[in-house]
Assembly symmetry: C3
């Protein structure tokens, strides 16, 4: 048990795991909301979706701030500290990009929402699932490191797929240019979604770092 | 006195406080300059404002580089080191965003400057005041932690207000679209100002971290 | 020899140097490719250049991931670890911005490529040379610290020149506005190149940090 994240963290600091799980669950909620928002796009409803997402984003902010404060006042070794800090931070980033997407929809009021937005949303839901499952098994790392590694590969694949979806969408957007303002709006809205999947992959990288060290 | 930033830093390293105060004072100067620049907008004058802001930005850069070098050659404990590093870094970020706003004004040459730019500028002046006052009291943290906490809440409120100002401005910009290029210009100029208030809130978070650890 | 990066790293961990050199060599390759790509701009060929750059970017990604994994499983002191981590990370950033430039060219399909793109590309080639030469001499730091310091000043100058080139280009772009979409495309393509030179200067700052500590 020496050198395992379980022995290093759980007995002393079991409270970090529930907080990280809470962050992952906020991420799951906002992923579903943004996907509904873009799938059934209607401006007035998007204002409501943004409110819900913003509230969840602030909830996530409070959870990660609590994690940071606990890390600063709790004695645990520096590298554990750093990994938990990074994990909370990047989970926060994914949520932020989703919030930023919802905010841009409300600020820009695009005429239509393109179908690939739903594709990116669904990729995010699936990324949030893999993240949630990995975070849940962090405290029993030794038993489940293979499953977590699988999840991380899946997050890597999701990022590549999202990248392709985004690239093809932007190419199409500029191939048949219409209203320049609509093009700018959609480009930036889609970019937030793509950045969210990028950040989801960074979550995978941090989790892999933890596995390398402790499993 | 054990565990206080005063006992940990001041006796050994009193030189960090004056340098952090110098950075905060550069921030205050550029906040005033950018606000004047957007309030009295006239292209030729904005070129002069940019020059002054750029000079100050480089001065700030030199100060933070000195801080980083001193941190690397001075024996102090890792967490103090990290906090001072982060604080100098984010102060630098606020100054950079203000510099970037001035640069965009000069590069884009917008026809007019919208009133909310002045509102954001004034919010930045006020953020710089709270930051300056907090940094000044860092070396007597035990006596003043309540005041510093108040300042941090104020920086949080300023960020929220700036966010609303920015959001409403962008919404209005796209509601009555005119020249797409003017829209892009103003969107990006205003975005730099909004990002500066975001970074100012990150300063508050780092200061709160220091308070949690040492007061 | 006490306190030197040679005595601290080389004997125990000679493998970090070849990996950092490999990253620097990937950077050199992508700098040449992007410069060719913009100098001889032709859309169909740019698709091929992007493929080559993307492959190299992924190779660089694998190298830096190996560096991060080795850092996590190798016993070396925290500050060495951090510096190597930062160095690999920022080398990765420069490569990413170059990749992002190639990707934007392919996604946006601009009508023409402006001459200053070649100027920025050549500045990047020259930055990659100074970086490569500095990284090669890191393991014999004591003998060559003056040369490395010179290289770092050169990287600083390159960043300033690139900044001016970019600023003047954007000013010209908005002075005689034509098609707003072409303006947006070129602005973002040129911005990636300018960000790459910014990141190259951050490499210089990290190398200077290492010199301050160990030479």
């Amino acid at each position: 048990m020496k050198n395992s994240i379980f022995s290093k963290l759980s007995p002393k600091e079991p409270k970090f795991f529930p907080m990280l799980e809470e962050l992952a669950s906020v991420l799951s909620e906002v992923s579903h909301l943004i996907t509904e928002c873009v799938r059934t796009y209607n401006y007035d409803r998007s204002v409501d979706y943004f409110k819900q997402i913003k509230d969840l984003e602030r909830k996530g902010d409070r959870v990660s701030n609590t994690i940071f404060e606990e890390l600063n006042t709790t004695f645990i070794t520096p590298f554990d500290r750093e990994d938990i800090h990074d994990l909370a931070n990047v989970l926060d980033d994914v949520i932020d990009f989703i919030n930023s997407c919802a905010k841009r929809i409300v600020m820009y009021h695009p005429k239509k929402m393109p179908e690939p937005a739903t594709t990116l949303g669904e990729l995010l839901i699936s990324a949030a699932d893999y993240i949630g499952s990995s975070v849940k098994e962090l405290d029993t790392l030794q038993k489940n490191s293979d499953k977590i590694k699988d999840n991380c590969s899946k997050l890597h694949e999701i990022e590549h797929t999202a990248d392709d979806v985004y690239e093809h969408f932007i190419m199409g957007l500029f191939e048949n240019p219409t209203d320049p303002l609509e093009i700018i709006k959609l480009k930036e809205i889609m970019h937030s979604l793509e950045q969210a999947t990028d950040a989801a992959e960074r979550v995978a990288k941090i989790i892999k770092t933890i596995i390398v060290k402790y499993s």
